[in-house]
Point group: C2
Chain length 203, copies 2
């Protein structure tokens, strides 16, 4: 009985602690696949094409974007970073579910190309807690913190477009990661993903 | 922050082991509420109105059905059994999620009245396993078993109208109950049920 995997998109305001939570989710569900991203930044010593990244030049990357071959992409410090669609398709065709942790902008792109993707927005419980978290890090001047907060408020306006909202309470990474695992398990039992099993009964 | 609870409907072919699984789910999630059903059968010694059942006469019951005040109802051995809508509303308004284990016919009624209900169909992995299960019980003549099986096959044709399909493998009640708990947890994080939290962030 062959089943395709599905795509899980985790997004939310940056500074909301997405990275930490997703790392924990991957430890809890090692069967989740991560895709190898493509980038235009040059390989560092020891990096291998197709392992850390697919290394592309700008023309090749932009061509892929134009042909809608990128599930999503973004530019950071003058380089492009993106998720090749083919890579995602290969993973899901193999029956694995795939997790993608991306910024809110990228998540919008993915939802447009893959309406079937399961989208989860991770948000801090309050803007005040997010402020404390960012100030506590001490890595950014106060103006940058305020800019991030107002951007977060804008991004959360888009929450309605996501399938799930998970509150990422500080010091409760474990509970938050567990909730995401439960969502992924539950989504596997969605009727649309169980047609093979329904047919198996009727044979 | 007040939140309404939601309704979880567990259904599926009878003889599929629904009862056992739901009992286990309730042990795992004691916070789930069960509603008190209404019935026209006379109270037995020790039974109290409003505790075991709401005891109604036929006229009163039929009037409630006519006024669409029953979430679902069925007749069994000459008596009616049903779930009063008001009872379900009271439970959900108190913030509790409510679980309802009913036959496929009743589930159709509930879905019509409460499109927001989370519906889960429990099915045995194959019709052959269901046959063995029914024969193994030894409580029914073989013709009844065959009748049940053909009815099960009909009922499973309705699977597409459910939100989730959970396979109820014999000897795996634990895994099956756990999957239902995960679905209920996940549904609590559905965006439509998280509006209060989204607003809390934006304040």
């Amino acid at each position: 009985m062959h089943k395709n995997g599905f795509l899980v998109v985790i997004s939310g305001p940056s500074g909301g602690g997405k990275g930490t939570v997703v790392r924990r989710v991957r430890e809890m569900m090692p069967e989740l696949a991560l895709s190898v991203s493509a980038t235009t930044r040059p390989p560092r010593v020891g990096e291998e094409d197709g392992r850390e990244y697919y290394f592309l030049d700008r023309d090749a990357f932009e061509e892929m974007v134009a042909r809608e071959e990128m599930l999503e992409y973004t530019s950071y410090c003058g380089n492009y970073y993106g998720t090749p669609k083919k890579e995602a398709q290969r993973i899901m065709a193999s029956g694995k579910n795939m997790i993608l942790e991306i910024e809110v902008e990228g998540a919008e792109q993915v939802k447009r190309l893959y309406p079937d993707a399961v989208s989860i927005m991770l948000i801090p419980p309050t803007i005040e807690e997010m402020r404390q978290r960012l100030v506590g890090r001490g890595t950014e001047p106060i103006e940058t913190v305020e800019k991030r907060l107002s951007r977060a408020a804008e991004e959360i306006q888009l929450a309605g477009e996501y399938d799930y909202i998970v509150i990422n309470q500080r010091d409760e990474i474990e509970a938050c990661a567990k909730q995401i695992c439960e969502i992924i398990h539950a989504e596997g039992a969605r009727t649309g993903r169980m047609t093979a099993e329904i047919e198996a009964f009727l044979i």
